[in-house]
Symmetry: C2
């Protein structure tokens, strides 16, 4: 019964579908998991968007990944219960909580599941590494363009978007924290993208009007 409220969907979570779990609904902007909080639960996003981030003492922060329906939030605390990253809802989030020990047992008992987990870990690792490359070596325009394109690809792959129009609940502050910029500068970059006809933004939706040009900006500039 795909799409029903509270269903676990998405490649990442398929392997967990039959395990016991409980449903939780978190309002927008609320913290799902605090940075140093210990927890036995492994949350999986069923609906809504969330972010995983590190906060710095001066209040700034770096977003490490944007979590969409089907994502485990986060895989890391399958192994390390408290690891210094916080998870925060962007929109209202429906998620399902699994007990860590259940998940680990399920993984070890079935080699096919273990393999899936390994591939998931590898993909996650690669996406953090890509983030590091972007932050270290790409200018602001490129980082923002890549952020948008990456989200577009993920949404499309999961059937959460068709065509160039995407649901886009992120605030400029989220984009800024994800790209290592300030909200003011993100505003200017997005403004330029819109004036140049690369994207259109309206009502929590983003349309990629000129994918080729956007991709060219993303690939190095």
């Amino acid at each position: 019964m795909p799409g029903r409220c509270g269903d676990v969907t998405g490649d990442a979570a398929v392997a967990l579908a039959e395990l016991p779990s409980s449903v939780q609904v978190i309002p927008a902007k609320r913290t799902i998991r605090h940075a140093r909080e210990f927890s036995d639960a492994v949350p999986v996003i069923c609906e809504g968007w969330a972010i995983a981030a590190v906060a710095l003492p001066d209040g700034r922060r770096q977003i490490l990944s944007i979590l969409l329906p089907g994502d485990i939030a986060s895989v890391a605390d399958l192994f390390e219960p408290a690891y210094g990253r916080s998870v925060e809802a962007v929109t209202e989030v429906t998620c399902r909580l699994f007990r860590r020990d259940d998940v680990r047992a399920a993984l070890v008992s079935e080699p096919e599941r273990l393999d899936r987990l390994f591939r998931l870990l590898a993909r996650e690792r690669q996406s953090v590494e890509n983030l590091a490359v972007d932050l270290g070596r790409r200018p602001a325009h490129g980082r923002v363009a890549r952020c948008i394109l990456h989200l577009s690809d993920r949404l499309t792959a999961r059937g959460l978007a068709r065509g160039p129009k995407l649901p886009f609940p992120l605030r400029q502050r989220h984009i800024a924290d994800a790209t290592g910029l300030t909200t003011v500068h993100v505003c200017k970059v997005l403004g330029a993208f819109q004036r140049d006809g690369l994207i259109a933004l309206e009502g929590r939706c983003l349309t990629i009007s000129d994918p080729d040009k956007l991709r060219r900006i993303a690939d190095l500039l």
Copy 2:
């Protein structure tokens, strides 16, 4: 027989010690593993320093990790044979090559090894995430200071350094690529650190003269 030439040492590699392997010696500055090269071998560093990096089309690059004796270079290609990162020797490197299938079989057969691998993956992930935070949200002084302190901690933990004096074969270009800066700016930062009595550099060795002040700079500035 610890310390003998070609031995596999270090927490990361202990679990592999009895597997069949071959020894390889790579001269300084040579590429150990090309970015898109397919390989069945999992290399483990026994002596010397190396780096794992991503190259951009314009010739710049971002170093993702600095590899010391005992490190697997890299864990990721246990699962994904070719994943777009290249590994390059900084000094002359002695490494041991294991066959991927042997390693995977060994991991699955022994739960204790599997657990060790999970913890290793979690630690690696965390260190890439820390890199992303540094690159996204910290100024040049902080990044360089953290790079030095991180290396100091790792070297000390493995018994490769005692006290404040470290072997330090990195060129300024390596530090620049690791911190997302240019060599010119790294030079200025290191110059300032030396003038301020935080560190001393001579003959491929680095001494941390004022750890407290260095840590204060690292922790946010």
